[in-house]
Amino acid sequence: MSLLPSDFADLEVFADWILPTEDERYAKRLGSTMAEMQSFYDTAFPRLEAIMAHAETVPIGDAAVVSDEDRNLAYLAFSLVTASFPVEAWKQPHVPDSGAAAFPLVSEPGF
Protein backbone atom coordinates (compact mmCIF):
# COMPACT_ATOMS: atom_id res chain seq x y z
CA MET A 1 0.00 0.00 0.00
CA SER A 2 1.45 3.33 -0.96
CA LEU A 3 0.39 6.52 0.74
CA LEU A 4 0.74 8.85 -2.23
CA PRO A 5 0.00 8.58 -5.96
CA SER A 6 2.83 6.58 -7.57
CA ASP A 7 4.37 9.63 -9.28
CA PHE A 8 5.03 11.09 -5.85
CA ALA A 9 6.55 8.05 -4.15
CA ASP A 10 9.72 10.08 -3.57
CA LEU A 11 7.80 12.26 -1.09
CA GLU A 12 6.74 9.35 1.11
CA VAL A 13 9.79 9.95 3.30
CA PHE A 14 7.80 12.94 4.56
CA ALA A 15 4.78 10.81 5.48
CA ASP A 16 4.77 12.39 8.95
CA TRP A 17 3.63 15.63 7.27
CA ILE A 18 0.51 13.93 5.88
CA LEU A 19 -1.87 15.39 8.44
CA PRO A 20 -5.60 15.78 7.84
CA THR A 21 -6.32 18.74 10.12
CA GLU A 22 -4.97 22.26 10.32
CA ASP A 23 -4.54 21.76 14.04
CA GLU A 24 -2.12 18.88 13.49
CA ARG A 25 -0.27 20.65 10.70
CA TYR A 26 0.22 23.79 12.76
CA ALA A 27 1.34 21.79 15.80
CA LYS A 28 3.79 19.84 13.64
CA ARG A 29 5.23 23.10 12.38
CA LEU A 30 5.67 24.53 15.87
CA GLY A 31 7.21 21.24 17.01
CA SER A 32 9.75 21.07 14.18
CA THR A 33 13.20 22.57 13.94
CA MET A 34 14.08 24.94 11.11
CA ALA A 35 16.47 22.28 9.76
CA GLU A 36 13.63 19.75 9.57
CA MET A 37 11.32 22.18 7.80
CA GLN A 38 14.05 23.33 5.47
CA SER A 39 14.72 19.76 4.37
CA PHE A 40 11.00 19.10 3.86
CA TYR A 41 10.71 22.32 1.86
CA ASP A 42 13.88 21.72 -0.18
CA THR A 43 12.58 18.36 -1.35
CA ALA A 44 8.84 19.02 -1.62
CA PHE A 45 8.75 22.56 -2.97
CA PRO A 46 10.46 21.68 -6.30
CA ARG A 47 7.72 19.04 -6.69
CA LEU A 48 4.85 21.44 -6.04
CA GLU A 49 4.30 22.32 -9.66
CA ALA A 50 3.92 18.62 -10.47
CA ILE A 51 1.61 18.19 -7.49
CA MET A 52 -0.60 21.01 -8.79
CA ALA A 53 -0.62 19.59 -12.33
CA HIS A 54 -1.80 16.27 -10.90
CA ALA A 55 -4.26 17.91 -8.51
CA GLU A 56 -5.89 19.72 -11.41
CA THR A 57 -6.97 16.34 -12.77
CA VAL A 58 -8.67 15.38 -9.48
CA PRO A 59 -12.24 16.69 -9.41
CA ILE A 60 -13.75 17.41 -6.00
CA GLY A 61 -17.26 18.35 -4.95
CA ASP A 62 -20.63 16.68 -4.68
CA ALA A 63 -20.30 13.71 -6.99
CA ALA A 64 -16.53 13.24 -6.80
CA VAL A 65 -14.81 10.54 -4.79
CA VAL A 66 -11.23 11.45 -3.92
CA SER A 67 -8.85 8.50 -3.46
CA ASP A 68 -6.88 8.17 -0.23
CA GLU A 69 -3.62 8.72 -2.16
CA ASP A 70 -4.86 12.00 -3.66
CA ARG A 71 -6.24 13.09 -0.33
CA ASN A 72 -2.87 12.42 1.31
CA LEU A 73 -1.14 14.36 -1.45
CA ALA A 74 -3.37 17.34 -0.69
CA TYR A 75 -2.62 17.08 3.04
CA LEU A 76 1.08 16.99 2.24
CA ALA A 77 0.70 20.09 0.06
CA PHE A 78 -1.21 21.82 2.89
CA SER A 79 1.71 21.03 5.22
CA LEU A 80 4.13 22.46 2.69
CA VAL A 81 2.05 25.64 2.65
CA THR A 82 2.25 25.78 6.45
CA ALA A 83 6.01 25.11 6.49
CA SER A 84 6.65 27.67 3.74
CA PHE A 85 6.03 30.55 6.15
CA PRO A 86 8.89 29.69 8.54
CA VAL A 87 11.13 28.88 5.57
CA GLU A 88 10.28 31.71 3.17
CA ALA A 89 9.40 34.49 5.61
CA TRP A 90 10.04 34.07 9.32
CA LYS A 91 13.27 32.05 9.66
CA GLN A 92 11.69 30.58 12.79
CA PRO A 93 8.81 28.14 13.33
CA HIS A 94 6.27 30.52 14.86
CA VAL A 95 4.89 33.83 13.66
CA PRO A 96 7.09 36.58 15.21
CA ASP A 97 5.61 38.21 18.30
CA SER A 98 2.61 35.88 18.22
CA GLY A 99 3.54 34.54 21.66
CA ALA A 100 0.92 32.19 23.09
CA ALA A 101 -1.81 33.45 20.76
CA ALA A 102 -3.84 30.66 19.18
CA PHE A 103 -6.13 30.98 16.20
CA PRO A 104 -7.45 27.54 15.34
CA LEU A 105 -9.35 26.69 12.19
CA VAL A 106 -12.40 25.27 13.93
CA SER A 107 -14.22 24.27 10.79
CA GLU A 108 -12.29 23.14 7.74
CA PRO A 109 -14.15 22.64 4.46
CA GLY A 110 -14.02 19.04 3.33
CA PHE A 111 -13.41 17.53 -0.07
Binding site: F45, L48, E49, I51, M52, A53, A55, E56, T57, V58, P59, I60, G61, V66, D70, L73, A74, A77, F78, L80, V81, T82, S84, F85, E88, A89, W90, V95, P96, D97, S98, G99, A101, A102, F103, P104, L105, V106, S107, E108, P109, F111
Partner: protein, 431 residues
Protein backbone atom coordinates in the same frame (compact mmCIF):
# COMPACT_ATOMS: atom_id res chain seq x y z
CA UNK B 1 3.08 62.87 -0.35
CA UNK B 2 -0.44 61.75 -1.19
CA UNK B 3 -0.61 59.06 -3.87
CA UNK B 4 -4.38 58.96 -4.06
CA UNK B 5 -6.79 61.85 -4.28
CA UNK B 6 -8.26 63.09 -1.03
CA UNK B 7 -11.62 64.85 -0.81
CA UNK B 8 -11.82 68.60 -1.43
CA UNK B 9 -12.28 69.17 2.30
CA UNK B 10 -8.58 68.33 2.61
CA UNK B 11 -8.97 65.02 4.45
CA UNK B 12 -11.39 62.13 4.77
CA UNK B 13 -11.92 62.93 8.43
CA UNK B 14 -12.98 66.51 7.75
CA UNK B 15 -15.77 65.21 5.50
CA UNK B 16 -17.42 64.33 8.83
CA UNK B 17 -16.98 67.49 10.89
CA UNK B 18 -18.86 66.14 13.92
CA UNK B 19 -16.03 63.66 14.47
CA UNK B 20 -13.44 66.42 14.91
CA UNK B 21 -9.74 65.81 14.58
CA UNK B 22 -8.76 65.89 18.26
CA UNK B 23 -7.03 63.03 20.09
CA UNK B 24 -9.45 60.27 21.15
CA UNK B 25 -10.03 58.86 24.64
CA UNK B 26 -9.73 55.10 25.07
CA UNK B 27 -11.50 55.13 28.44
CA UNK B 28 -14.27 53.23 26.59
CA UNK B 29 -11.98 50.20 26.40
CA UNK B 30 -10.79 49.99 30.01
CA UNK B 31 -13.81 50.90 32.15
CA UNK B 32 -15.89 47.94 33.40
CA UNK B 33 -18.94 50.12 34.10
CA UNK B 34 -18.79 51.49 30.58
CA UNK B 35 -18.67 47.95 29.26
CA UNK B 36 -21.79 47.01 31.23
CA UNK B 37 -23.60 49.91 29.61
CA UNK B 38 -22.36 48.90 26.16
CA UNK B 39 -24.24 45.62 26.62
CA UNK B 40 -27.47 47.56 26.99
CA UNK B 41 -26.83 50.51 24.69
CA UNK B 42 -25.12 48.73 21.82
CA UNK B 43 -25.65 44.98 21.88
CA UNK B 44 -29.25 44.84 23.07
CA UNK B 45 -30.35 47.52 20.59
CA UNK B 46 -28.49 46.85 17.34
CA UNK B 47 -29.17 44.26 14.67
CA UNK B 48 -26.48 41.59 15.12
CA UNK B 49 -25.39 39.12 12.49
CA UNK B 50 -25.29 35.51 13.68
CA UNK B 51 -24.30 33.73 10.50
CA UNK B 52 -25.74 32.69 7.18
CA UNK B 53 -28.75 30.80 5.90
CA UNK B 54 -26.50 28.02 4.55
CA UNK B 55 -25.94 27.00 8.19
CA UNK B 56 -29.61 25.98 8.28
CA UNK B 57 -29.96 23.83 5.16
CA UNK B 58 -33.09 21.82 6.13
CA UNK B 59 -36.35 22.11 8.04
CA UNK B 60 -35.35 21.47 11.65
CA UNK B 61 -31.74 22.64 11.21
CA UNK B 62 -30.76 24.77 14.17
CA UNK B 63 -27.79 26.29 15.95
CA UNK B 64 -27.42 28.05 19.27
CA UNK B 65 -25.38 31.18 19.97
CA UNK B 66 -24.05 32.19 23.34
CA UNK B 67 -24.38 35.96 23.40
CA UNK B 68 -22.37 36.99 26.44
CA UNK B 69 -22.57 40.55 25.20
CA UNK B 70 -26.30 40.54 25.86
CA UNK B 71 -26.21 37.88 28.60
CA UNK B 72 -28.38 35.40 26.76
CA UNK B 73 -28.28 32.30 24.60
CA UNK B 74 -30.34 32.03 21.42
CA UNK B 75 -31.71 29.21 19.30
CA UNK B 76 -31.86 29.90 15.55
CA UNK B 77 -34.00 27.34 13.76
CA UNK B 78 -35.55 26.66 10.38
CA UNK B 79 -39.19 25.76 10.94
CA UNK B 80 -41.38 23.16 9.24
CA UNK B 81 -42.68 26.10 7.18
CA UNK B 82 -39.08 26.91 6.08
CA UNK B 83 -39.12 30.20 8.03
CA UNK B 84 -35.99 30.96 10.06
CA UNK B 85 -36.77 32.09 13.62
CA UNK B 86 -34.82 32.99 16.73
CA UNK B 87 -35.79 32.27 20.34
CA UNK B 88 -34.19 32.77 23.70
CA UNK B 89 -32.77 29.40 24.66
CA UNK B 90 -34.82 29.08 27.85
CA UNK B 91 -37.54 26.63 28.88
CA UNK B 92 -40.76 28.31 29.96
CA UNK B 93 -41.32 25.86 32.82
CA UNK B 94 -38.52 26.70 35.25
CA UNK B 95 -35.87 28.32 33.15
CA UNK B 96 -33.55 25.50 32.15
CA UNK B 97 -31.45 26.08 29.07
CA UNK B 98 -33.30 24.23 26.32
CA UNK B 99 -30.85 23.26 23.57
CA UNK B 100 -27.37 22.07 24.54
CA UNK B 101 -25.33 18.90 24.47
CA UNK B 102 -22.92 17.70 27.17
CA UNK B 103 -21.72 21.17 28.21
CA UNK B 104 -24.42 23.76 28.90
CA UNK B 105 -22.12 26.68 28.04
CA UNK B 106 -21.05 25.34 24.67
CA UNK B 107 -22.83 26.15 21.46
CA UNK B 108 -24.86 23.43 19.84
CA UNK B 109 -26.06 22.69 16.33
CA UNK B 110 -27.83 19.96 14.44
CA UNK B 111 -31.19 18.95 13.08
CA UNK B 112 -34.21 18.03 15.16
CA UNK B 113 -37.99 17.63 14.98
CA UNK B 114 -38.66 19.46 18.22
CA UNK B 115 -36.88 20.79 21.30
CA UNK B 116 -37.29 18.77 24.51
CA UNK B 117 -36.20 20.14 27.87
CA UNK B 118 -33.75 17.90 29.72
CA UNK B 119 -35.25 18.82 33.10
CA UNK B 120 -38.94 17.79 33.13
CA UNK B 121 -39.47 16.99 29.49
CA UNK B 122 -41.55 19.92 28.19
CA UNK B 123 -41.47 19.96 24.42
CA UNK B 124 -41.58 22.78 21.86
CA UNK B 125 -42.06 22.54 18.11
CA UNK B 126 -39.77 24.14 15.53
CA UNK B 127 -41.95 27.26 15.50
CA UNK B 128 -41.53 27.69 19.25
CA UNK B 129 -45.00 26.52 20.38
CA UNK B 130 -45.21 24.51 23.59
CA UNK B 131 -46.62 21.12 22.49
CA UNK B 132 -46.20 18.82 25.47
CA UNK B 133 -46.27 19.21 29.23
CA UNK B 134 -45.33 16.25 31.40
CA UNK B 135 -48.28 15.47 33.76
CA UNK B 136 -50.16 18.42 32.38
CA UNK B 137 -53.11 17.69 34.69
CA UNK B 138 -51.00 18.59 37.76
CA UNK B 139 -50.80 22.23 36.67
CA UNK B 140 -53.27 24.99 37.46
CA UNK B 141 -55.15 26.48 34.50
CA UNK B 142 -52.11 26.06 32.26
CA UNK B 143 -52.82 27.15 28.69
CA UNK B 144 -49.97 25.80 26.56
CA UNK B 145 -50.44 28.57 24.01
CA UNK B 146 -49.28 31.05 26.67
CA UNK B 147 -45.95 29.30 27.13
CA UNK B 148 -44.25 29.26 23.76
CA UNK B 149 -40.54 30.07 23.50
CA UNK B 150 -39.68 33.74 23.82
CA UNK B 151 -39.13 35.02 20.28
CA UNK B 152 -36.37 37.36 19.15
CA UNK B 153 -36.67 39.67 16.15
CA UNK B 154 -34.94 38.10 13.16
CA UNK B 155 -34.49 39.16 9.56
CA UNK B 156 -32.30 38.10 6.66
CA UNK B 157 -30.35 40.24 4.19
CA UNK B 158 -28.53 38.58 1.26
CA UNK B 159 -28.40 35.33 3.22
CA UNK B 160 -27.00 36.95 6.39
CA UNK B 161 -29.13 36.21 9.48
CA UNK B 162 -29.55 39.17 11.84
CA UNK B 163 -31.29 39.33 15.21
CA UNK B 164 -32.30 42.25 17.36
CA UNK B 165 -32.81 41.76 21.10
CA UNK B 166 -34.87 44.90 21.65
CA UNK B 167 -38.58 44.45 22.48
CA UNK B 168 -39.25 46.65 19.48
CA UNK B 169 -36.24 47.37 17.22
CA UNK B 170 -35.79 51.06 16.53
CA UNK B 171 -35.89 50.30 12.81
CA UNK B 172 -36.29 47.31 10.47
CA UNK B 173 -33.09 45.53 9.39
CA UNK B 174 -33.13 46.99 5.90
CA UNK B 175 -33.32 50.53 7.23
CA UNK B 176 -30.66 49.75 9.83
CA UNK B 177 -28.28 48.56 7.09
CA UNK B 178 -29.15 51.50 4.86
CA UNK B 179 -26.85 52.36 1.95
CA UNK B 180 -24.38 49.65 2.89
CA UNK B 181 -26.99 47.04 1.95
CA UNK B 182 -28.15 48.92 -1.12
CA UNK B 183 -24.56 49.09 -2.35
CA UNK B 184 -23.98 45.35 -1.92
CA UNK B 185 -27.34 43.94 -3.02
CA UNK B 186 -26.82 41.24 -5.61
CA UNK B 187 -23.23 40.31 -4.75
CA UNK B 188 -23.07 36.50 -5.18
CA UNK B 189 -22.58 35.73 -1.48
CA UNK B 190 -24.85 32.70 -1.89
CA UNK B 191 -22.50 31.17 -4.46
CA UNK B 192 -19.46 31.44 -2.19
CA UNK B 193 -20.23 28.92 0.50
CA UNK B 194 -16.98 26.97 0.90
CA UNK B 195 -16.13 28.21 4.35
CA UNK B 196 -13.00 28.22 6.53
CA UNK B 197 -13.89 29.24 10.06
CA UNK B 198 -11.41 30.48 12.67
CA UNK B 199 -12.08 31.40 16.28
CA UNK B 200 -9.79 33.09 18.79
CA UNK B 201 -10.18 34.20 22.36
CA UNK B 202 -8.49 37.60 22.48
CA UNK B 203 -7.46 39.39 25.66
CA UNK B 204 -8.52 42.83 24.51
CA UNK B 205 -11.63 44.98 24.39
CA UNK B 206 -13.73 44.12 21.32
CA UNK B 207 -13.29 47.58 19.82
CA UNK B 208 -9.50 47.26 19.72
CA UNK B 209 -9.63 44.42 17.20
CA UNK B 210 -12.14 46.30 15.08
CA UNK B 211 -9.71 49.22 15.20
CA UNK B 212 -6.91 46.96 13.98
CA UNK B 213 -8.87 45.82 10.95
CA UNK B 214 -10.52 49.18 10.23
CA UNK B 215 -7.21 50.78 9.32
CA UNK B 216 -4.35 49.51 7.18
CA UNK B 217 -1.94 52.19 8.39
CA UNK B 218 -0.36 49.38 10.44
CA UNK B 219 -0.01 46.94 7.56
CA UNK B 220 3.32 47.94 5.98
CA UNK B 221 4.95 47.96 9.43
CA UNK B 222 3.36 45.20 11.54
CA UNK B 223 3.19 42.78 8.61
CA UNK B 224 6.46 43.87 6.99
CA UNK B 225 8.14 40.46 7.05
CA UNK B 226 5.23 38.79 5.29
CA UNK B 227 6.47 40.33 2.05
CA UNK B 228 9.70 39.60 0.21
CA UNK B 229 12.42 41.99 1.45
CA UNK B 230 12.52 44.43 -1.42
CA UNK B 231 8.74 44.73 -1.60
CA UNK B 232 8.56 45.19 2.19
CA UNK B 233 10.90 48.18 2.28
CA UNK B 234 9.04 49.75 -0.63
CA UNK B 235 5.69 49.29 1.17
CA UNK B 236 7.06 50.71 4.43
CA UNK B 237 8.50 53.71 2.58
CA UNK B 238 5.22 54.48 0.84
CA UNK B 239 3.00 53.69 3.84
CA UNK B 240 -0.69 53.07 3.36
CA UNK B 241 -3.34 55.25 1.80
CA UNK B 242 -6.84 54.06 1.13
CA UNK B 243 -8.59 54.68 -2.16
CA UNK B 244 -11.75 55.78 -0.46
CA UNK B 245 -13.53 56.04 2.87
CA UNK B 246 -17.23 56.45 3.42
CA UNK B 247 -19.56 56.53 6.38
CA UNK B 248 -23.08 55.63 5.25
CA UNK B 249 -24.90 58.29 7.21
CA UNK B 250 -27.37 58.29 8.86
CA UNK B 251 -26.33 54.71 9.72
CA UNK B 252 -23.12 53.93 11.60
CA UNK B 253 -21.79 51.55 8.94
CA UNK B 254 -18.79 52.42 6.82
CA UNK B 255 -16.28 51.21 4.26
CA UNK B 256 -12.57 51.53 3.59
CA UNK B 257 -11.57 50.75 0.01
CA UNK B 258 -8.00 49.72 -0.75
CA UNK B 259 -5.74 49.03 -3.67
CA UNK B 260 -3.64 45.93 -4.13
CA UNK B 261 -4.11 42.34 -5.02
CA UNK B 262 -1.46 41.92 -7.63
CA UNK B 263 -3.35 39.01 -9.18
CA UNK B 264 -1.19 38.01 -10.90
CA UNK B 265 1.68 40.32 -9.90
CA UNK B 266 3.38 42.32 -12.62
CA UNK B 267 6.75 41.03 -11.46
CA UNK B 268 6.90 37.48 -10.01
CA UNK B 269 9.85 38.41 -7.78
CA UNK B 270 7.49 40.66 -5.80
CA UNK B 271 5.82 37.66 -4.17
CA UNK B 272 7.04 34.60 -2.31
CA UNK B 273 8.00 31.45 -4.24
CA UNK B 274 5.03 29.42 -3.02
CA UNK B 275 2.63 32.16 -4.12
CA UNK B 276 3.97 31.94 -7.66
CA UNK B 277 3.48 28.19 -7.83
CA UNK B 278 0.04 28.11 -6.19
CA UNK B 279 -1.10 31.35 -7.86
CA UNK B 280 -2.56 32.54 -4.58
CA UNK B 281 -1.78 34.65 -1.54
CA UNK B 282 -3.27 37.12 0.92
CA UNK B 283 -5.69 38.42 -1.70
CA UNK B 284 -6.83 34.89 -2.49
CA UNK B 285 -6.42 32.67 -5.54
CA UNK B 286 -5.32 34.78 -8.51
CA UNK B 287 -7.75 33.10 -10.87
CA UNK B 288 -11.36 34.15 -10.41
CA UNK B 289 -13.80 31.34 -9.66
CA UNK B 290 -15.38 29.86 -12.76
CA UNK B 291 -19.13 29.95 -13.08
CA UNK B 292 -19.72 33.01 -10.91
CA UNK B 293 -20.50 36.19 -12.77
CA UNK B 294 -18.31 38.98 -11.40
CA UNK B 295 -18.30 41.06 -14.59
CA UNK B 296 -20.62 43.68 -13.14
CA UNK B 297 -20.17 44.43 -9.49
CA UNK B 298 -22.75 46.07 -7.21
CA UNK B 299 -22.37 49.84 -7.06
CA UNK B 300 -21.08 49.81 -3.48
CA UNK B 301 -17.91 47.94 -4.46
CA UNK B 302 -14.80 49.81 -5.56
CA UNK B 303 -16.44 53.15 -4.73
CA UNK B 304 -13.47 55.13 -6.09
CA UNK B 305 -13.74 53.16 -9.35
CA UNK B 306 -10.00 52.74 -9.26
CA UNK B 307 -8.25 50.33 -11.63
CA UNK B 308 -5.89 49.16 -8.83
CA UNK B 309 -8.82 48.28 -6.55
CA UNK B 310 -8.10 45.25 -4.38
CA UNK B 311 -10.50 45.03 -1.48
CA UNK B 312 -13.36 46.75 0.34
CA UNK B 313 -13.81 46.33 4.06
CA UNK B 314 -17.39 47.05 5.13
CA UNK B 315 -17.83 47.76 8.82
CA UNK B 316 -21.31 46.61 9.80
CA UNK B 317 -21.90 48.36 13.09
CA UNK B 318 -21.48 47.32 15.80
CA UNK B 319 -19.41 44.15 15.52
CA UNK B 320 -19.24 42.69 12.02
CA UNK B 321 -17.01 43.20 9.01
CA UNK B 322 -17.66 42.00 5.48
CA UNK B 323 -14.46 42.16 3.46
CA UNK B 324 -14.76 41.59 -0.27
CA UNK B 325 -11.67 40.84 -2.35
CA UNK B 326 -11.31 41.73 -6.00
CA UNK B 327 -10.36 38.17 -7.07
CA UNK B 328 -13.84 36.94 -6.11
CA UNK B 329 -14.24 35.82 -2.52
CA UNK B 330 -15.10 37.40 0.81
CA UNK B 331 -14.60 37.04 4.51
CA UNK B 332 -16.44 38.10 7.62
CA UNK B 333 -15.21 39.06 11.06
CA UNK B 334 -17.28 39.11 14.22
CA UNK B 335 -16.15 40.51 17.55
CA UNK B 336 -18.17 39.20 20.52
CA UNK B 337 -17.27 40.79 23.84
CA UNK B 338 -17.12 38.43 26.81
CA UNK B 339 -15.68 40.94 29.29
CA UNK B 340 -14.36 44.49 29.34
CA UNK B 341 -10.95 43.22 28.24
CA UNK B 342 -11.81 39.97 26.40
CA UNK B 343 -13.66 38.98 23.31
CA UNK B 344 -14.23 36.08 21.02
CA UNK B 345 -13.02 36.83 17.52
CA UNK B 346 -14.50 34.84 14.64
CA UNK B 347 -13.30 34.91 11.06
CA UNK B 348 -14.90 33.07 8.18
CA UNK B 349 -13.40 32.90 4.71
CA UNK B 350 -15.94 32.17 1.98
CA UNK B 351 -14.84 30.92 -1.42
CA UNK B 352 -16.57 29.37 -4.38
CA UNK B 353 -16.63 25.58 -4.08
CA UNK B 354 -13.32 24.39 -5.63
CA UNK B 355 -13.80 22.25 -8.73
CA UNK B 356 -10.58 20.28 -8.35
CA UNK B 357 -7.90 19.56 -5.78
CA UNK B 358 -5.55 22.18 -7.23
CA UNK B 359 -8.09 24.95 -6.54
CA UNK B 360 -8.47 23.63 -3.00
CA UNK B 361 -4.68 23.79 -2.46
CA UNK B 362 -4.61 27.39 -3.77
CA UNK B 363 -7.34 28.31 -1.29
CA UNK B 364 -5.31 26.69 1.49
CA UNK B 365 -2.49 29.17 0.86
CA UNK B 366 -4.94 32.08 1.09
CA UNK B 367 -6.37 30.70 4.35
CA UNK B 368 -2.98 30.01 5.95
CA UNK B 369 -1.69 33.45 4.90
CA UNK B 370 -4.76 35.00 6.47
CA UNK B 371 -4.01 33.20 9.73
CA UNK B 372 -0.37 34.35 9.77
CA UNK B 373 -1.53 37.96 9.46
CA UNK B 374 -4.27 37.58 12.05
CA UNK B 375 -1.85 36.09 14.59
CA UNK B 376 0.27 39.22 14.26
CA UNK B 377 -2.77 41.48 14.53
CA UNK B 378 -4.22 39.64 17.53
CA UNK B 379 -1.18 39.53 19.72
CA UNK B 380 -0.49 43.24 19.38
CA UNK B 381 -3.92 43.85 20.87
CA UNK B 382 -3.23 42.12 24.15
CA UNK B 383 -0.13 44.28 24.49
CA UNK B 384 -2.23 47.37 23.74
CA UNK B 385 -4.98 46.43 26.21
CA UNK B 386 -2.63 45.99 29.16
CA UNK B 387 -0.94 49.32 28.51
CA UNK B 388 -4.24 51.16 28.04
CA UNK B 389 -5.32 49.73 31.39
CA UNK B 390 -2.21 51.22 32.99
CA UNK B 391 -3.96 54.57 32.51
CA UNK B 392 -0.62 56.28 31.93
CA UNK B 393 -1.86 57.78 28.68
CA UNK B 394 -5.56 58.42 28.15
CA UNK B 395 -5.88 60.15 24.80
CA UNK B 396 -4.43 59.18 21.48
CA UNK B 397 -3.95 61.09 18.21
CA UNK B 398 -5.58 59.40 15.21
CA UNK B 399 -4.56 60.13 11.63
CA UNK B 400 -6.73 60.47 8.56
CA UNK B 401 -6.19 56.78 7.67
CA UNK B 402 -7.72 55.96 11.08
CA UNK B 403 -11.03 57.67 10.31
CA UNK B 404 -13.07 54.52 10.88
CA UNK B 405 -11.37 53.97 14.24
CA UNK B 406 -12.33 57.49 15.27
CA UNK B 407 -15.84 56.91 13.99
CA UNK B 408 -16.35 53.62 15.85
CA UNK B 409 -15.38 55.06 19.21
CA UNK B 410 -17.44 58.16 18.54
CA UNK B 411 -20.54 56.11 17.71
CA UNK B 412 -20.26 53.82 20.73
CA UNK B 413 -19.63 56.84 22.98
CA UNK B 414 -22.76 58.54 21.64
CA UNK B 415 -24.94 55.45 22.08
CA UNK B 416 -23.77 54.79 25.61
CA UNK B 417 -24.17 58.44 26.59
CA UNK B 418 -27.69 58.52 25.10
CA UNK B 419 -28.56 55.35 26.97
CA UNK B 420 -27.22 56.78 30.23
CA UNK B 421 -29.19 59.99 29.73
CA UNK B 422 -32.41 58.00 29.13
CA UNK B 423 -31.74 55.87 32.18
CA UNK B 424 -31.14 58.92 34.35
CA UNK B 425 -34.43 60.43 33.21
CA UNK B 426 -36.21 57.14 33.91
CA UNK B 427 -34.73 57.06 37.40
CA UNK B 428 -35.64 60.71 38.00
CA UNK B 429 -39.29 60.16 37.09
CA UNK B 430 -39.30 57.05 39.27
CA UNK B 431 -39.97 54.45 36.58
Amino acid sequence: MAHFTKPAEGSWTELYPHLGTAPVSYQDSIDPEWFEDEREAVFKRSWLNLGRVEQLPRKGSYFTRELDAARTSLIIVRGADDEIRAFHNICRHRGNKLAWTDYPNEEDKGTCRQFACKYHGWRYDLEGELTFVQQEGEFFDLDKSDYGLVPVHLDVWEGFIFVNLADEPEQPLREFLGDLATGLDGYPFGEMTYCYEYVADVGANWKLFIDAFAEFYHAPILHMRQSVAEEASKLAGVGFEALHYEIYEPTAHSVVSSWGGMSPPADPSMVKPIENVLRSGLFGPWDKPEGIDLSTLPAGLNPAEHRAWGTDSFQVYPNMVILIWEPGWYLTYHYWPTAMNRHRFEARLYFAEPKNLAERISQELAAVTFKEFALQDGNTLEATQTMLESGVVREFPLCDQELLVRHLHHTVREQVNDYRAERDVAVAVGR
